[in-house]
């Protein structure tokens, strides 16, 4: 009798209070994705991708079956074990290899599989000449497309064709006053050993540092793709601080500047920009002989970048992300084009180790006034969310909450500019929104970071890749329809380690009995699944001074 229960839908339930839970978690993590981590029972899911990730990491079916049998509280259904063995067996039957005579070949240890693949309609045109019974030539330009297509037909190929070294460029870490944390080192080494792949670390765990360490190990010119301009600047600052790279060695390739240097940081937006139906900045990929391409926030990688990445398969690729889950379900493309998962650390574990501040989530429910309720009931469907989310009743609650946390740094986050302006006025705090100029934005962030500013009101532009070390409290007044993605990011904002180890607070102010509350239910579920304490409070209680 142990702590794991295997379900027929291939989910695994782990009783976390069990004495063997820790051991079991470590044993299960390589081949199952953590799906939900509420307080008592965590849910892992065994997917083909997870199993193939495990295969790529060197685990075999026997080990997986053993883990299930060893930890399972109840007997494991026969069919599931058979299925696991069969699925895992599919990975590695096909290998993409370098061949001195033919360049790139697809080789198979199983002739029947190769036969199936060669005859597949989906792969027509990707494969070249048949070289004997167990291999077939592949045009180097099809390396990425082929891997994508093979994954879709269920025969993921192991890519051992190797990488070009690229233009050598010495990069060293400068560890003065900081040190590479153990897991950061493990992540970088895991990546380097595999050549390409994805490192999964929660927000605040120092993904930039992992990127820098990977660059130092590769020792080559590097192209870094990030989500937006602010992020470009942060990467640059971090690299200058953590490595021997100098200002002259780092280029910025964005809407405003087009520098190409040994280390170049570009935004996805620029890369995906089209003029007259043509991607205008594609030449960046060929501008230098890049030895490494880093994809920041790989779960947000836009579709055009996937297509471009398919042509970059000979270069080392590092994906960095907080979650492998993509809202668009393109996890398979990340697997085949960027690479398998090379390192993963459960969010909650990092928190327990003290790298991330624990967060405490409170939902404050305000009542709409009679007139607001009537207006809400009669408003057009497309305006309803906006109406309830920007209810005036929220202002008083936000003010009260800000006053309560007079000690800490408070971020107020929302989606609607009018509401944010109003709140900014009520709180006497500056508002950062889309139209705020980058320079002003950075000035305000700096001031906030220095503690000169205590309260900052931000729109969703602040959701990605900004670094606000001392934001201990976040108050969300409106969000874009309960996206899981956004929640993770927002929570990431406040999950920064704080000097005194206080718990971070995440407030969500919502209007009762409206769409706002429905969306909050999604958020509540997501956060609870992430293992955070979640409470609900009434605005009246908050305003009357009750502790929440």
């Amino acid at each position: 009798m142990s702590c794991l229960i295997v379900q027929s839908d291939k989910t695994l339930l782990l009783e976390v209070d069990h004495e063997l839970a820790g051991e079991c978690r470590r044993a299960v993590a390589p081949f199952a994705e953590l799906e939900r981590a509420p307080e008592h029972v965590h849910t892992y899911r065994i997917t083909p991708l997870a199993l193939w990730n495990a295969r790529a990491a060197g685990h075999d079916a026997e080990q997986v079956v053993d883990v299930l049998l060893r930890f399972s509280k109840f007997p494991v259904p026969h069919s599931l074990l058979v299925d696991i063995a069969e699925t895992m067996d599919r990975y590695g039957r096909l290998r993409l290899e370098g061949d001195p005579a033919h360049g790139l070949v697809l080789r198979s240890s199983d002739r029947a599989v190769l036969e199936e693949v060669v005859r597949s309609k989906r792969l027509r045109g990707m494969l070249g000449e048949r070289l004997g019974g167990d291999s077939v030539a592949v045009h180097p330009s099809e390396r990425g497309n082929l891997k994508q297509a093979l994954l879709k037909i269920g025969w993921p190929a192991e890519d051992v064709a190797g990488y070009v070294d690229g233009e050598a460029h010495r990069i060293d870490l400068v560890q003065d006053g900081w040190e590479l944390r153990d897991y950061q080192r493990a992540a970088a080494e895991g990546f380097h050993a595999g050549g390409s792949g994805v490192v999964v670390l929660p927000c605040g765990a120092g993904k930039t540092v992992v990127g820098a360490a990977a660059m130092a190990m590769t020792g080559a010119t590097t192209l870094i793709l990030v989500t937006n301009t602010v992020s470009v600047h942060q990467w640059k600052t971090e690299l200058l601080r953590r490595t021997t790279l100098t200002e002259e060695e780092i280029g910025e390739y964005s809407g405003t500047r087009k520098e190409i240097r040994p280390v170049t940081i570009a935004t996805y937006q620029v890369m995906a920009a089209k003029r007259k139906g043509v991607y205008t900045h594609l030449e960046l990929f060929d501008a230098r002989d890049w030895g490494l391409v880093v994809y920041d926030e790989v779960h947000l990688l836009p579709a055009p970048i996937f297509r471009m990445t398919a042509d970059l398969q000979a270069r080392r690729r590092l994906g960095l992300t907080a979650t492998l889950v993509r809202e668009d379900g393109r996890e398979g493309d990340v697997f085949s084009l960027i690479g398998p998962k090379r390192y993963d650390a459960p969010w909650k574990d990092m928190e327990n180790q003290g790298w991330i501040a624990p967060a405490d989530c409170v939902e404050v429910r305000v009542d709409l006034s009679e007139s607001e309720r009537l207006a809400y009931a009669t408003s057009e469907p497309e305006d309803r969310y906006r109406f309830c989310a920007s209810s005036e009743a929220k202002t008083a609650v936000v003010r009260e909450l800000v006053e309560r946390h007079s000690e800490g740094q408070v971020l107020v986050i929302g989606s609607y500019i009018d509401q944010l302006d109003e709140l900014g006025e009520a709180l006497g705090a500056p508002v950062i929104k889309g139209e705020t100029r980058t320079r002003e934005r950075e000035r305000l962030f700096d001031a906030f970071r220095e503690g000169e500013l205590r309260v900052l009101v931000v729109s969703k532009v602040a959701n990605f890749s900004i670094d606000l070390p001392e934001a201990g409290v976040a108050i969300q007044v409106s969000g874009s329809f309960g996206s899981r993605q956004e929640e993770a990011q927002r929570l990431g904002r406040v999950l920064r380690p704080k000097a005194d180890g206080r718990a971070a607070r995440f407030y969500a102010v919502i209007a009762r009995d409206t769409l706002d509350q429905d969306y909050a239910a999604h958020r509540q579920r997501f956060l609870a699944e992430q293992g955070y304490a979640y409470r609900i409070a009434d605005a009246a209680d908050v305003l009357s001074g009750d502790e929440v």
Binding site: D9, H40, K73, P75
Partner: protein, 823 residues
């Protein structure tokens, strides 16, 4: 007595052995103890069906060809060799004494010189003989063992030996016999040449002498035939040669009767000669034990757990399937089977593939849990048995399925294959019956049971052992049955990772109780608690007790099943619970009582949020309404029993809804003496007076102020209401009235009953038709009854009245409460 063999003095017979009569199989059988007979009937159950009416009948059946063939099928390779030895040596056509002793047999099967220790082998021979005696394939005549006679035909060449010399000699022409006898045994005292020659050949010294006379070539010929087959082909086998004129080696042997013709060009080595040449050993190789198992030794506990898991999966799947079919049954095909589409649906319901689904469906059917209803367009539906089955503990449920699978002669794995006519065999349809299937299953499981616990043999090893264990069954059909049995056993939880599960062993030994107990130890026990979590899920870490499972399924959605069940609470699911009559408090109490963990605050909020909004608005159906500013008037209307037909429901003190339409409502109320006015949908009065032409609109005069009823009137109403209610609802005991007696008897009976009531001061209920012809029930307190009239206090009216006896249609006594008498 065999059907096709003539009665034989030495064979079995039904005659009673008298003094001096040689013993027979029947007489041997008669001397067996009851325990021995019981043992015989248990190893050869077909002897007991139908019930034999005596030892004679039993003996006849035990020696009939078919039952003996069946018995042979159950023997292992070594026992068959021992049996062949008995047949070879104990043949009654060999020379006297008839039969073979156990010692001789042991010598023949386990030569003392053999390397592997003669003792163990002799023991094995003795054991095998015991078994053969027990199954009455061999019987003993004092210490000599003899085969039942039909075996002579069934095993025509035991140990690849030829027939006894006597048989071969008997077929020779008389002249040839005389010549042989003259050549070889001129001085024999035997009366006939056959006998003389047979005795010569069965005498080792005589035979030895004959053999010494032949040349080296002839010896080589004999050696080639010694270990069988005992036949050789030669031209003109029946030639007449003598010792003197024998030219070739074959003729040397023919002249000495060392080879005898058995056909025009076939020569056969007589059994006696063959035995002599083999120098005492009957077989070159004997295997006293099956070949060893090859395979993997696994942890027995793990294997049992694994198998139990599979068993549990089967139970869940079958329940899942039958539950789904009880709502949406599958159609019965014209041939009685289950359609492919329905099978696919079943597989989806059970979360498994179609082959496995086919097995589960067949087993559920074999266990009587699934049946076709007998309508023309039939449907497959769970049976009543299923309801009982579902209530029993899991190990019992499995046993039922397991037993059904062991015993069914249908082979589920054959479904989906095509028969010789190219038609697909449907699940539950015809074409799946294989009478040998139950035996094959038991063979497989019994063979697995001979391995150590947890040992998982490779398939080849299992089939090699089965070939030794049941050599006479070997056939492509049997091999297929074995393969199917192995596969099905794994899916049903008889085996785990290829090894036999511990709980199956007692089942094979006929002890289902022990099997249930063992299996129960591995099956998850039903729990009565869940873990409720902040993401609004409840996890039942194991199967739940039925009641809790039912309640949870009502207030939460099942998200995943398996070893555990995950329930998710949503607004909809909670509302479903409230709709089913559970209150907020009920739900929270249930969860608090059964949750191992404190209820998360978010769940309390969810339940109370839904509860707060649930039922705030209530909807119903009505056709018209009645409103009135005076609640008292509505009280009156509601109190009037005559308004029953209008289907009135009081919604509020001043509003009543009616089931009938507005026109009927207005008419009905008018008949009762009220004056309702119709109202339009906008609440404006609709007056339906005739449209008279007028010059100018006339103002509607204000309604006259309503008269406030006096207190007395109110009391009357109340009393009337109560009395009417009582008359309608009071428990009554009808007084029987003679319907078709002599004229006047009915009235007399009514009068008598009412007079008794008046005397006793009891109230009575009467059915009364008033002068307007209206029928109503009333409660009266009679005070006097005379002259066709009853004077009584009518509680409904609150007044004393006279009732005509002939108008009283029914009469009943009231079940009195404390108000025993009227004032």
């Amino acid at each position: 007595m065999t059907d096709n063999a003539p009665p034989d003095l030495h064979g079995p017979g039904t005659e009673t052995p008298g003094p001096g009569r040689p013993p027979t199989f029947t007489s041997w059988l008669r001397e067996r103890s009851d325990a021995e007979l019981a043992a015989l009937l248990s190893v050869r159950p077909d002897l007991g069906r139908p019930l034999p009416d005596g030892i004679g009948a039993l003996a006849a059946r035990a020696t009939s060809r078919n039952t003996v063939l069946r018995a042979l099928e159950g023997q292992d390779a070594f026992t068959l060799q021992v049996l062949e030895a008995v047949v070879a040596l104990g043949d009654d056509r060999l020379s006297e004494p008839v039969g073979a002793t156990a010692g001789e047999l042991a010598d023949a099967l386990a030569p003392a010189a053999s390397a592997d220790g003669g003792e163990a082998r002799r023991g094995a021979v003795a054991d095998a003989l015991q078994g053969l005696l027990r199954s009455a394939l061999v019987w003993s005549d004092r210490d000599r063992l003899r085969p039942v006679q039909v075996l002579r035909d069934l095993l025509p060449a035991p140990a690849r030996l030829g027939p006894p010399a006597r048989v071969l000699l008997a077929a020779l022409p008389h002249g040839r016999l005389k010549r042989l006898a003259a050549d070889l045994a001129p001085d024999s005292p035997a009366p006939a040449p056959v006998e003389a020659l047979a005795r010569l050949l069965s005498d080792p010294a005589g035979l030895g002498a004959l053999l010494e006379q032949v040349g080296e070539h002839a010896h080589r010929l004999l050696d080639g035939m010694a270990w069988g087959p005992p036949h050789g082909t030669v031209a003109d086998a029946r030639r007449d040669v003598g010792v003197a004129d024998a030219g070739s080696p074959v003729e040397e042997l023919l002249a000495r009767a060392l080879l005898l013709p058995s056909g025009d060009d076939t020569l056969t080595l007589p059994r006696e000669v063959g035995l002599h040449l083999r120098a005492g050993a009957l077989f070159r190789e004997t295997a006293t034990a099956p070949p060893g198992f090859a395979g993997t030794a696994r942890d027995a506990g793990g294997v049992d757990g694994f198998a139990a898991g599979q068993a549990f999966t089967v139970l869940r799947a079958v329940e899942e399937l039958l539950e789904s079919w009880s709502g949406e049954p599958a159609a019965v095909l014209r041939n009685g089977g289950l359609g492919v589409r329905d099978l696919r649906r079943a597989a989806a319901a059970m979360e498994t593939d179609e082959a496995t689904a086919a097995l589960y469906v067949e087993v559920a059917h074999a266990a009587g849990l699934l049946g076709a209803d007998d309508r023309v367009e039939g449907e497959w539906l769970p049976t009543r048995e299923y309801d009982l089955w579902r209530e029993s503990p899991p190990e019992r449920r499995w046993l039922r399925l397991a037993q059904a699978w062991l015993d069914t002669d249908r082979v589920p794995s054959l479904s989906g294959s095509r028969d010789s006519g190219g038609r697909v065999r449907n699940v539950l349809g015809p074409g799946l019956v294989r009478p040998a299937a139950p035996q094959a299953r038991r063979d497989v499981l019994a063979e697995l049971a001979t391995a150590d616990p947890g040992f998982s043999p490779v398939p080849e090893s299992l089939s090699a052992r089965l070939s030794w264990r049941r050599p006479r069954r070997r056939s492509p059909v049997y091999t297929e049955l074995v393969d199917n049995a192995v596969a099905e056993a794994a899916l049903l939880g008889f085996t785990g990772r290829g090894a036999l599960a511990g709980h199956v062993r007692p089942l094979l030994e006929g002890d289902p109780e022990a099997a249930a107990a063992l299996l129960a130890g591995h099956l998850p026990r039903p729990l009565d608690h869940v873990l409720v979590q902040g993401d609004l899920t409840a996890v039942a870490p194991g199967p739940l007790v039925a009641e809790l499972a039912r309640e949870l399924a009502l207030i939460a959605d099942v998200e995943s099943t398996g070893g555990a069940t995950v329930y998710r609470f949503t607004e909809d699911s909670v509302r479903r619970g409230l709709d089913a009559g559970r209150g907020i408090a009920d739900i929270l109490t249930l969860l608090e009582r059964h949750s191992r963990t404190p209820l998360p605050q978010a769940l309390r909020y969810l339940v109370s949020d839904v509860g707060r909004r649930h039922g705030r608005l209530r909807a119903g159906a009505a056709s018209s309404y009645l409103r009135c500013d005076e609640p008292a008037l509505l009280d009156e209307v509601m109190g009037d029993r005559r308004t029953e037909a209008l289907g009135l429901v009081r919604l509020a003190p001043t509003v009543v809804a009616a089931a009938v339409g507005r026109a009927s409502l207005v008419d009905g109320l008018r008949r009762l003496g009220h004056h309702p006015v119709a109202e339009g949908g906008d609440g404006v009065m609709r007056l339906s007076r005739p449209e008279a032409r007028r010059a100018e609109p006339v103002e509607v005069p204000p309604e006259p102020p309503t008269v406030v009823p006096t207190a007395e009137r109110v009391r009357e109403i109340v009393r009337a209401v109560r009395a009417g209610d009582e008359a309608a609802t009071a428990t009554r005991h009808p007084v029987p009235l003679p319907e078709d007696g002599p004229p006047g008897s009915r009235a007399a009976a009514v009068l008598a009953a009412l007079a008794r009531a008046a005397e006793a001061g009891r109230r009575m209920w009467i059915g009364y038709t008033d002068t307007d012809g209206r029928q109503a029930g009333r409660i009266i307190g009679p005070s006097a009854a005379d002259g066709g009239f009853v004077t009584a206090h009518d509680e409904t009216r609150g007044a004393v009245q006279r009732f005509a006896v002939h108008r009283i249609t029914a009469l009943a006594e009231l079940e009195e409460d404390d108000r025993t008498a009227t004032p």
